[in-house]
């Protein structure tokens, strides 16, 4: 049983609004302004993630870049569990947990309230799962993108409803076996970044903890921009994908290396940059790591390879089309 580290964001044991703001318990160091450094991570150890999960690792590095002048909106998701139950918080930043389908709308309300108070430099971020982003939260995300609200939205994409025991979402890839697709999913993964790019938002990108320097650079870049910025982060789910406890990081790397999860950025909806330009292994290598693909026939494996090839070719076309003449 792990001990939950009491962060300064912990409030009274009963969540009365009257008690929303309380000083940190004696002996707990108060986070001060400025960039957080390694000794004082904004996501503390002792959180409630599954052992071996790379989601807290991903979020810790994101918050290290963003620093303490940040507020997070975290809908029901694995990240909400990682953030901790009342009265504990693993995060040294304020967190508002909205309803599942409302993250971008809630972040808008928070953003505008801070703007009204003159706190325009405080980052309002969303840390949502793929269910809360691709599916039930998509309507308000599209609306926030259309309004170009000044929000930095992170989609922690583990390709399914993992917090409820691994059911399919519209981010689940073709043929993947989940609790609601026991024979394998019959349709492809939704291409969220293309859809967001079509809104013309300033920045949309994919990133992965398996390529840390690229991830950190993208968060730095997004931090410096204004408007709606969205970064998807592939989070291989140990339980939902059927991975050994030590395999998440390697699987995340394999997803990029085979082209199933390409790392790229789209600026202003039109300028595409491919960040990891070489495909160094077949998709079959990546599939073989995961129990959710164990039932695949040779034909299905080939079909997935073809889908990845098509996606890669389309991406190269986008990159070529956006190169300066």
């Amino acid at each position: 049983m792990q001990t939950i580290t009491l962060a300064p964001s912990a409030t009274d044991e009963c969540p009365q609004a009257d008690d929303l703001r309380r000083p940190p318990p004696a002996g707990v160091e108060q986070t001060s302004g400025g960039r957080a450094h390694a000794q004082e991570p904004l996501l503390c150890s002792g959180h409630a993630a599954c052992p071996g999960c790379v989601e807290p690792l991903t979020v810790r590095h994101i918050l290290d870049v963003l620093g303490p002048d940040t507020m997070a909106v975290i809908p029901p998701s694995c990240m909400a569990i990682i953030a901790g139950p009342q009265p504990f918080s693993s995060l040294r930043i304020p967190v508002y947990q909205p309803t599942l389908e409302a993250s971008a709308a809630a972040a808008t309300g928070l953003r505008r309230a801070l703007d009204a108070k003159g706190q325009r430099d405080t980052q309002v971020i969303v840390l949502a799962g793929d269910g809360g982003t691709y599916d039930i939260g998509f309507q308000c995300l599209s609306s926030a993108a259309e309004r170009n609200e000044n929000i930095l939205y992170f989609c922690l994409d583990n390709e399914g409803y993992m917090n409820t025991g691994a059911q399919k979402s519209s981010s689940t890839p073709h043929y993947a076996r989940t609790g609601s697709t026991p024979a394998g999913k019959t349709s492809r993964k939704k291409n969220l970044l293309e859809i967001m790019a079509a809104h013309g938002i300033p920045y949309a990108a994919s990133a992965s903890i398996g390529h840390l320097a690229d991830l950190q650079r993208k968060v730095e870049k997004a931090k410096a921009l204004r408007g709606l910025r969205l970064i998807t982060l592939l989070i291989p789910c140990l339980d939902g994908w059927g991975l050994p406890d030590d395999a998440a990081l390697g699987t995340a790397r394999a997803a990029v290396e085979c082209g199933a999860y390409p790392l790229y950025e789209i600026e202003d909806g039109v300028r595409y940059t491919l960040n990891h330009t070489q495909r160094t292994r077949p998709v079959a290598d990546y599939l073989a790591l995961q129990r959710r693909y164990r039932h695949l026939s040779a034909d299905q494996t080939l079909a997935l390879q073809c889908e990845v090839d098509e996606g890669w070719a389309r991406l190269l076309q986008r990159v070529a089309a956006s190169a300066p003449a």
């Binding site: 409030t11 009365q16 609004a17 002048d69 928070l110 108070k117």
Partner: protein, 389 residues
């Protein structure tokens, strides 16, 4: 149009927009819906003219409107919105969420029929179906009362940390032009100090809202919410009294109209009360009817139901006639059943007649109300509500 205290002609919707402007909210998420849209349009006009500097958010749905209202309020700013009917129903999940988060959001709701089938007529089922969400609910009779109540609502909400809904009937109140006194900004500023809560979402002292809690924490949180609701009738009465001192207008938590010595009292909410006044005046008039002892009890604060005030006001009354412009299938009229519960066990309790009058926007004339009074006096009360035309 100027904000001095001279009466001007305003619709109920425009009176609401003026009240919102005078209350100086900092964030206003809002979505258009008939018959609320003129509230939205006048607020955006005010902003375009440079006399309303709130952050106006226009999301894709009422669901997102209320989703934005809650964390904005938790960040420590004053929040206003307005909706109607289907929009209110779409917000339902967030209405619970707002009350649970103890956010003092003020919302005007224009009472309109709930589909299906589609209709656009006055009917209070939309907001009465939200009575268990933890929102304070007012029902108003006129444009002037709408303006005054929205401003009072901010004061009550911010004192008790509960959201407040101000309900006005579609068209009869929302679109009818009436003379309205628009108070001066200085008067409203003196009445309603800036919202400056001690607790808020804040990066300097980080704290969170919404984390999972234990059964015990949840239970205690609900008890605290109940205690807050319990304080509302007294705070509402005080907010109204102070407003009355400053403006000469007060409305009461309940209003007793010609109830002195009344053997029969009509109880209703919203615009039906205006019609019932006409009926009461006619019945009281000496003439062929020889002056019947009939009065009107207007319920302005519906949630929390001011049960003690209702029992006191109806002591000694022989017959109570509840006029419901709403319909809860299998239950009847919501106000009828709420009043029966409130008066249950009262010594010499009045006989309570529940009439479903005006459901779906059916016009209820003073003459029909006179007929309802005669009917009630000649028949035994039923436990269920009866359809009347």
């Amino acid at each position: 149009m100027t904000a001095d205290d001279r009466p001007v002609l305003l619709t109920g919707n425009h009176a609401v927009a003026w009240a919102a402007r005078l209350a100086r909210p900092q964030v206003v998420p809002v979505y258009p819906i008939t018959p609320q849209t003129p509230v939205l349009e006048l607020l955006t006009d005010f902003q375009a003219e440079g006399c309303f500097d709130a952050e106006i958010i226009t999301p894709e749905s009422e669901h997102s409107v209320m989703s934005a209202c809650i964390p904005a309020s938790l960040a420590g700013v004053r929040v206003f919105t307005a909706t109607a009917s289907q929009g209110l129903l779409l917000m339902h999940e967030l209405l619970h969420y707002a009350a649970g988060a103890r956010t003092p959001i003020v919302m005007a709701n224009v009472n309109r029929t709930v589909a299906s089938p589609w209709a656009f007529w006055p009917d209070q089922t939309d907001s009465l179906a939200q009575r268990d969400t933890g929102w304070v609910q007012f029902y108003v009779e006129s444009a002037q009362e709408a303006l005054d109540t929205v401003i009072q609502a901010f004061r009550i909400a911010e004192q008790v940390l509960l959201p407040v809904m101000v309900n006005l009937d579609a068209f009869y109140v929302s679109h009818a032009l009436e003379p309205v006194s628009v108070p001066a900004q200085a008067l409203v500023d003196a009445y309603l100090p800036p919202f400056n809560p001690a607790q808020r979402l804040d990066t300097v002292q980080p704290s969170s809202w919404g984390n999972v809690v234990t059964p015990d924490m949840f239970n205690r949180h609900r008890q605290a919410l109940e205690a807050a609701m319990g304080g509302v009738p007294a705070l509402a009465a005080e907010a109204d009294r102070d407003w009355g001192e400053r403006t000469g207008r007060s409305w009461g938590v309940i209003e007793r109209y010609r109830c002195d010595g009344a053997a029969t009292v009509i109880v209703s909410m919203g615009s039906l009360c205006g019609t019932a006044r006409e009926a009461v005046d006619a019945l009281r008039a000496t003439g062929e009817g020889a002056g019947q002892a009939v009065g009107l009890l207007k319920l302005r604060l519906f949630r929390p139901l001011p049960a003690a005030a209702l029992r006191a006001a109806l002591t000694g009354v022989a017959d109570v006639i509840v006029l419901d412009r709403n319909h809860s299938p299998g239950c009847g009229g919501v106000l009828h059943q709420e009043l029966r519960a409130a008066l249950y066990g009262m010594p010499d309790a009045p006989r309570i007649h529940g009439y479903l009058a005006g459901v779906g926007g059916i016009n209820v004339s003073p003459e029909r109300i006179t007929a309802f009074v005669q009917r009630a006096q000649s028949e035994a009360p039923q436990p269920h509500s009866e359809w009347v035309r």
